[in-house]
């Protein structure tokens, strides 16, 4: 019973968490916790076969399928909190509490008597016992299950399949379209700009900087932009200033203030003057290159 009293609160808290978390991914992780705890409870209840099946089928297959669909549905999967029917949410909570109270009162009214236990039924092995039942008394249900699984697999394929209504554009068509767009709308002919690559950041979530210091919107993936996980150029500049301050402290000297302005100038509003001072400035060039290397 120790396992039960440890796992039962965890399961209830995680199940309540599913009700309140905004993101579907978090709900899936909480559900995984509940299901693994359930598997342990099955093991405690002398059902080793179900323990393994619960982990393989539920946490292994079904939850992975959930996560797969969450990833496909993607960015805007977080729940809206707008009530479309007035008072529906509170009414649902009241109904749920009433259902729970009904079930609990029902359970408390009955006396289960002495537990028989599964020692006798599991004497020849739990899996052997289950197989005996499955292939004798429940063999018809077992066969129907096979039909159900085939139907489900076929149904999923039919539902998820999408027939292509037009031919897939090849490389030649895409190139022709690009040139046509250039001719009619004046769109940029070449490929999109690459994301920013700096001494400390070369990740795809960092936008490239235009000559005037503003981030280039087209240089990062639109998906990342929609998720709001893009690092902004001013933050990078703050980073660089921190590092420069840390490096400039012990180095000291006359070149430090000029270097600091050059470093921040790289990523904020005035990169041209920053570059000029950093590269061509008299006296400051020695420490400047030194610190560039450190960065």
């Amino acid at each position: 019973m120790t396992a039960f009293w440890i796992l039962a609160p965890v399961m209830v808290v995680c199940a309540l968490g599913i009700l309140v978390v905004r993101k579907a991914v978090h709900a899936a992780l909480l559900l995984a916790t509940v299901m693994i705890s359930l598997a342990v409870l099955y093991a405690v209840l002398e059902a080793p076969f179900l323990f393994v099946v619960q982990i393989i089928v539920y946490t292994g297959a079904i939850l992975m399928l959930f996560l797969f669909v969450v990833m496909l549905v993607g960015v805007d999967a977080s729940d809206s909190l707008v009530e479309t029917i007035r008072g529906q949410r509170s009414a649902a909570v009241v109904a749920g509490i009433a259902l729970g109270a009904l079930l609990l009162v029902g359970v408390s009214q009955l006396s289960l008597g002495a537990t028989v236990g599964l020692e006798e039924a599991n004497a020849g092995g739990n899996i052997e016992g289950l197989a005996d039942l499955l292939f004798s008394r429940y063999v018809l249900v077992f066969e129907v299950t096979a039909a159900l699984l085939i139907t489900a697999a076929l149904g999923a394929m039919v539902l998820a399949h999408r027939e292509r209504t037009s031919a897939k554009p090849g490389q030649a068509e895409l190139a022709a379209q690009r040139v046509r767009d250039f001719g009619t709308k004046g769109l940029h002919l070449g490929p999109l700009p690459a994301p920013g690559v700096y001494a400390r950041h070369n990740a795809v979530d960092t936008p490239a900087l235009l000559p005037d210091g503003t981030p280039a919107e087209t240089s990062v993936s639109q998906t990342l932009a929609a998720r709001g996980t893009i690092r902004h150029a001013p933050d990078l500049a703050d980073d660089i200033e921190d590092v420069q301050r840390a490096l400039g402290g012990p180095a000291g000297g006359a070149g430090t203030p000029a270097d600091t302005s050059a470093g921040s100038g790289h990523n904020t509003e005035n990169p041209s003057t920053g570059n000029a001072t950093g590269a061509g400035g008299p006296g400051a060039s020695g420490t400047g290159t030194d610190e560039e290397a450190h960065r």
């Binding site: 179900l50 909570v93 109904a95 609990l104 537990t115 489900a152």
Partner: protein, 100 residues
Amino acid sequence: MTDVTPYVVLSAILFSIGAVGVLTRRNAIVVFMCVELMLNACNLALVAFAKQHGNLDGQVAAFFVMVVAAAEVVVGLAIIMTIFRTRRSASVDDASLLKY
């Protein structure tokens, strides 16, 4: 011999939480997860009663529930995918075209 009543009580609590989730959540995927939670709660009760009565029929029933749940999830998620593809939304409120 341990008493199985706490397991049945836990099963009832999880079932109620799942029911509240089905009624309150708007995201079709999370609604589906709550349905899974209810199925799992039923499985826990079935396994607990199998131990109570000392035969394996309850465990066989739980096994069949798992099979049906797997089939149901496959079809359900395919439907959610199809709806998402046409309506660009996984919210159960947006699929209300039959109302009008």
